[in-house]
């Protein structure tokens, strides 16, 4: 637990924090609203005080009631992992600004989060399915994607569980709308 980091984060990001900062083990967690993502991450990335240059992970989370996007950052200035949770995305239309302008490599991780959760990253130039087939319609890591018990245990002997829940969301303004015919 890096108390110094906690003080600095609270001082610099005070107005962006959506809930109190938490620390446990070697992790420091801040929670922010979706609209604050570009500002906060730009500050964390660019500011020499923080210097979070390494994006260790980008992950989508479905809490069952809302969606989250979780970034893990690493900086030489602190022994902690910094976890930035973007909370309060609606499950019906989760949208969050893309951070590909900071880390171009986040593009595929955002694509994966879109693929698995349907979270739309606004500003990602190539937001399409990556692991699932392009004509797949549901989002498998959402909690309402019910993975039948047998299917988890015995491959092949289980239940077919392909496309279950909702139709895919439109991936933002970047979508090229072309009619099929």
């Amino acid at each position: 637990m890096d108390v110094q980091l906690k003080r600095r984060l609270e001082a610099r990001l005070g107005e962006h924090l959506a809930s109190p900062l938490r620390q446990r083990h070697d992790e420091t967690e801040i929670r922010i609203a979706p609209a604050a993502v570009p500002d906060v991450l730009r500050l964390l990335h660019d500011d020499p005080d923080f210097g979070f240059e390494v994006l260790a992970d980008l992950s989508g989370v479905d809490t069952g009631t809302s969606m989250e996007v979780v970034y893990h950052l690493w900086s030489p200035a602190t022994p902690d992992w910094l976890r930035v949770s973007v909370i309060g995305l609606s499950r019906e239309d989760p949208r969050v600004p893309s951070i590909t302008f900071l880390w171009q490599g986040a593009e595929w991780m955002e694509r994966e989060a879109y693929d698995m959760f349907g979270i739309v990253f606004e500003g990602n130039r190539d937001l399409r399915r990556i692991l699932m087939p392009p004509d797949y319609t549901s989002f498998p890591l959402r909690k309402d994607f019910y993975l039948a018990d047998d299917a988890a245990r015995s491959p092949g002997g289980g239940v077919r569980h392909m496309e279950q829940t909702s139709a895919p969301l439109a991936p933002g303004e970047a979508l090229m709308r072309r009619s099929q015919a």
């Binding site: 992970d57 893990h72 490599g105 190539d126 692991l131 072309r178």
Partner: protein, 405 residues
């Protein structure tokens, strides 16, 4: 261009021909993003070629659609998911112990590094202190696994450039390592050895005698076999200056591991975010400044030497004691979130776990480094030849099992 030799509507061969159609890599649906639309509009004199999913040098089932102008690559679009098994979903529906077994086949040439971050994350969640001997055993087996993985990577690098022999020399050494790991873990590839709170079984005599034999000649053998390639003009000329990336871009592309260190950034989680007993061990972080395929290749040799140093120290400093902590039978970590990452042979292998207080993880996120290295193809490859893609791909050393999860 399809030619139908059969005209009878009843002939099954005709339907087969029609189903296959022309073998165009252009997808049969309208493009969904600007990038896709731009890529799949083929210009004058360009052609699209499917490299993979069944191609000798795609390291698994990677499919890359290449836009070629002659032999020169104009653009390329990696298509993933041919090996997608939904491991994250499976882990979210499995017991904490079960998840470890699911993780093994991800990076199947370095399985221990897939288990490691998961058990680290669970130990953090459960507040378990791992015995020191278990930590030493983890480091020892992990570094052995790193060597075997690097050897394989270097061998396949040569194989993708047409050299038949280095891969087999690599396999000789790798087989020694794999056999000795099998003697303590029970399996040759999918070890399933790390447990929450320690490791599954102590070192045994067979392992130690094999390791001793191997350590006595490992470095000389590896170096002698590298003489086949390191000075070979054909190999060096094909790799030098190819797929060059600078450190800034590499960081922006979220690169980690040897590929990032080959650009000059000494980012190694064993030092950058120390875990296990690495702070007590003495080793260097080799870096190179060129950032090209040759640097990535040579850096792996340096890493093998450092790993041998670590193994040597582990053997000398290993304390006695138990190899498993006292852990409850039924593990219900308290609700919370945790992130753990280790320095795998390909970079930072991370696991992000959310626990909701049950015996199953609520969210289990696997962060695979190869996934991010593959992403950089459109930066590295265009402008080079088709054959250069094989060299770049081999030097990035992706494992598709981990990429596709």
């Amino acid at each position: 261009m399809t030619s139908h030799r059969f005209t009878s509507a009843d002939d099954p061969r005709v339907t087969l021909d029609e189903q296959l159609g022309t073998f165009e890599p252009i997808p049969p649906y309208p493009p969904r993003t600007e990038r896709e639309a731009e890529f799949y509009s083929v210009g004058d004199g360009e052609m699209l070629v499917n490299v993979g999913p069944h191609h000798p040098s795609t390291h698994g089932v990677l499919r890359v659609v290449m836009k070629l102008d002659g032999e020169r690559v104009v653009d390329l679009d990696p298509v993933l998911g041919y090996l997608h098994r939904g491991v994250e979903k499976l882990c979210e529906n499995a017991d904490l112990h079960h998840t470890i077994a699911y993780l093994d086949p991800l990076e199947y040439v370095s399985s221990l590094f897939c288990e490691w971050p998961a058990v680290m994350a669970y130990e953090k969640l459960l507040g378990i202190r791992v015995p020191r001997r278990a930590e030493y055993i983890r480091v020892l087996t992990g570094e052995l696994n790193r060597i075997s993985s690097h050897l394989l990577a270097m061998g396949f690098h040569a194989l993708d450039l047409g050299g038949l022999t280095p891969i087999l020399y690599s396999f000789i050494e790798r087989d020694e390592i794999v056999e000795m790991l099998a003697s303590i873990t029970g399996q040759r590839m999918l070890f399933n050895y790390f447990r929450i709170g320690g490791v599954n079984g102590d070192l045994n005599h067979e392992f130690l005698s094999r390791l001793g034999d191997w350590m006595s000649h490992a470095l000389t053998e590896v170096q002698a076999n590298q003489g086949l390639l390191n000075e070979n003009e054909l190999f060096v000329r094909r790799n030098r200056g190819l797929g060059t990336i600078d450190s800034k871009t590499a960081l922006r592309m979220c690169w980690t591991g040897p590929n990032l260190r080959a650009t000059g950034v000494p980012f190694d989680l064993r030092r950058a975010h120390p875990y296990s007993v690495y702070p007590e061990l003495d080793f260097d972080i080799p870096t190179r400044s060129e950032g090209d395929c040759l640097a990535r290749y040579l850096l792996r040799i340096d890493e093998i030497k450092q790993s041998l140093r670590i193994i040597d120290q582990c053997l000398h400093e290993m304390p006695d004691g138990p190899v498993m902590a006292q852990v409850p039978r039924l593990m219900r970590p308290r609700p919370g979130r945790t992130f753990a990452a280790v320095e795998a042979p390909r970079g930072e292998y991370g696991v992000f776990v959310i626990s909701d207080g049950t015996d199953q993880p609520f969210r289990f996120r696997i962060h695979d480094p190869s996934f991010l290295h593959l992403q950089s193809f459109p930066l590295l490859v265009p402008g080079n030849l088709l054959a250069d893609w094989m060299a770049i791909n081999a030097s990035l050393d992706p494992i598709m099992g981990g990429v596709d999860k």
